[in-house]
Amino acid sequence: MPRWGMAVDLDRCNGCAACVVACHAENNISTVGADEAARGRAKHWLRIERYWEGEFPDARLTFRPVLCQHCDNAPCEPVCPTYASHHTEDGLNAQVYNRCIGTRYCANACPYNVRFFDFFNPSWDKPLHLQLNPDVSLREAGVMEKCTFCVQRIQAAGTQASAEEREVQDGEIQPACVQSCPSKALVFGDLDDPGSRVSQLSRSPRGSKLLEDVGTRPKITYLARQSQA
């Protein structure tokens, strides 16, 4: 069984947010409109956190893409009363939309705030409604949704590989964010395969986990910035 994970090279991330757009398009994340977004109802499964360091004029801008960390020890899972939030065999934090009754407890327990509640039924600003992805189910009002590591792409690659009677190759699966990143800051793959690029990067001395001391054992490794630019 693979154990899917990701490495994020903060030295390469320039905060362009192409990953955010790609994520919205791939996963049928509904747009909520300017007013609702201003009220904090926007649903960015992946967001670019922007931090200023230092005082003007010596200020420096840093970015950190934050998505579901697919924790091995995920606080969102035990608190769900209906198993809507649960751990799959290949290590994903899955969210079963049809099983979710909307207690929103998982979002409270999540230290990263990467779970989003559907306050209304989904709708899209035209013409975005014409580009929905048929591989991803829509979420009705009242359920939680979150990053799936593009589970539909993982499944499709697995099916394709087994049809061709071979293993899934490293780099064959690319979640939408990884695929769209122009500076190749995001790398996805199997952490249990010691030769995969993602596990090599995860072992890098530059690597660290987000909020590691909370004890969630995330599967995303952030590679620290080295450049001073």
Binding site: E36, R39, G40, R41, A42, K43, R47, E49, R50, Y51, V66, P75, P78, V79, C80, P81, T82, Y83, R99, C100, I101, G102, T103, R104, Y105, A107, N108, A109, P111, Y112, N113, F116, F117, D118, F119, F120, N121, E140, A141, G142, V143, M144, L211, V214, G215, T216
Partner: protein
């Protein structure tokens, strides 16, 4: 201080049941209108979507969960207080126990509504129930919300039994004095009560068992409600103090609720000769004790956080102590600690009016306490980028007001149909007791005139 006896008790306490004044209809219409408004608000939330509430990322719990914890807290008025007073055989408890036990049942019913109201898809709430489904999907027994389900149902069942048992002889009294349909209804409720020594003995035994059994249940219920918070790795939630802190707060707000209810009953049902100032004074002393205990817990929680100086906890701590939530926080400290300490600590102020003022303060303060536990912590969770805040929308405010109106409405209806003061227990406490009215097994009632 005069003690009414015999048939006087029957007349006074059965009067509300047999005579209906126009005031009753006005009260029912008044509270009923608010309850109806609350129902409309809830239905429109289901119809239009949860978005009409003020919840937003990352504060996904707000008024509804505050109300849930608050009402489950109020429910500790009754059963726990009355069970303890029964067990220590406090003689003054007799006119107080039933109005307390009723609060428990109604507050639990109202509190248990809020987890449903706050669900994103409330029509699927039965997925929390452990029923055997054909797909063999059980609820997740590791989830504190499922523990809540069991805890609240156990407490509700227990407190309904605990309320109902001592009502049986009173139902028989009403049955014997009523006519027509009313007689038939109360005959069913009285469960064939004849007042034989055997029946009295069984009633006493059952009540002893319930009084002992209900105390650990009551303590566990609010501990489990506190687990909803303390089990999650959220700064200022994940702390061991929450269990006892919540239980103490629950009893505290419960006593306050009881005092307000007693004062209202005394005034509107003219029960001045049954609910004496000494009842208010004794419960006022209990309120004082709980205010001190509450203050002790808050002091502990706050000082340990401050001294420990963890960055995540301090972000929430600063919010409540001297940033955006500070006005609410210090109002809470005043209402929950300074005000009851002053009014209940100084004998001159420990009057009925003083008790009511302190109690209203405590009710508001304890509601604020629950709000301040939930919202600042969710709004300031670890990553500064995802800090957020929350502002209630009309739908939440209307439903909150409706919950208070529902409590008042249920209380008015109860006092209309059931003697709000236990007639037989009052008679059992008389000196000397009327021999034909006193149950044989109540020797200890006469022996113990313990005053708290």
């Amino acid at each position: 201080m005069t003690h009414p006896t015999g048939s006087r008790i029957n007349n006074d306490l059965l009067r509300p049941l047999l005579l209906t004044s126009w005031r009753f209809y006005v009260l029912v219409a008044f509270f009923g209108a608010f309850v109806a408004a609350g129902l409309i608000a809830w239905l429109s939330q289901i119809f239009f979507g949860f978005g009409i509430s003020g919840l937003r990322w990352p504060v996904y719990w707000g008024f509804y969960v505050t109300n849930f914890v608050f009402w489950i807290g109020i429910s500790h008025a009754g059963t726990l207080i009355s069970a303890i007073l029964r067990l220590v055989n406090a003689g003054w408890r007799r006119p107080v126990t039933r109005c307390a036990e009723v609060i428990t049942v109604f507050a639990l019913l109202i509190g248990a509504m809020f987890p449903l109201i706050h669900l994103g898809r409330p029509w699927l709430a039965f997925w929390l129930f452990p029923y055997p489904s054909e797909r063999l999907i059980w609820p997740n027994f590791r989830s504190p919300l499922v523990w809540d389900f069991f805890a609240i149902n156990t407490y509700l069942t227990g407190s309904i039994l605990f309320l109902f048992l001592p009502m049986i002889p009173d139902f028989a009294v009403v049955r014997d004095r009523a006519t027509g349909l009313r007689r038939r209804v109360y005959r069913v409720l009285a469960l064939g009560w004849r007042g034989t020594p055997k029946q009295w003995h069984r009633l006493e035994t059952a009540m002893q068992i319930m009084a002992i059994a209900i105390i650990p249940v009551a303590v566990s219920v609010h501990t489990i409600v506190s687990f909803d918070f303390s089990m999650a790795p959220v700064p200022m939630w994940n702390t061991t103090i929450f269990g006892p802190y919540f239980v103490a707060g629950a009893i505290f707000s419960g006593i306050a609720g009881l005092l307000i209810a007693m004062a209202a009953l005394r005034k509107f049902l003219h029960l001045e000769e049954y609910l004496h100032p000494v009842h208010f004074e004794n419960l006022g002393k209990l309120l004082l004790v709980m205010a001190l205990l509450w203050g002790y817990f808050v002091f502990n929680e706050r000082l340990v956080t401050y001294y420990g100086n963890g960055p995540a906890e301090m972000a929430v701590f600063r919010q409540t102590q001297w940033q955006s939530f500070a006005p609410l926080h210090w109002t809470m400290v005043f209402l929950n600690f300074v005000l009851p300490l002053t009014l209940m600590g100084i004998r001159k102020f420990r009057t009925i009016a003083g008790c009511v003022i302190a109690s209203i303060g405590v009710i508001v303060g304890m509601w604020l306490e629950r709000f301040l536990i939930i919202v600042p912590a969710l709004g300031h969770k670890y990553l500064p980028y995802s800090y957020g805040t929350y502002r209630p929308e009309p739908v939440e405010i209307v439903i909150t007001i409706a919950s208070f109106a529902a409590m008042s409405l249920l209380y008015v209806l109860f006092a209309k149909f059931i003697p709000i003061i236990s007639i037989w227990e009052l008679k059992a406490g008389e000196h000397p007791p009327a021999p034909d009215l006193v149950p044989p097994a109540t020797e200890e009632h006469r022996l113990g005139d313990l005053r708290l």
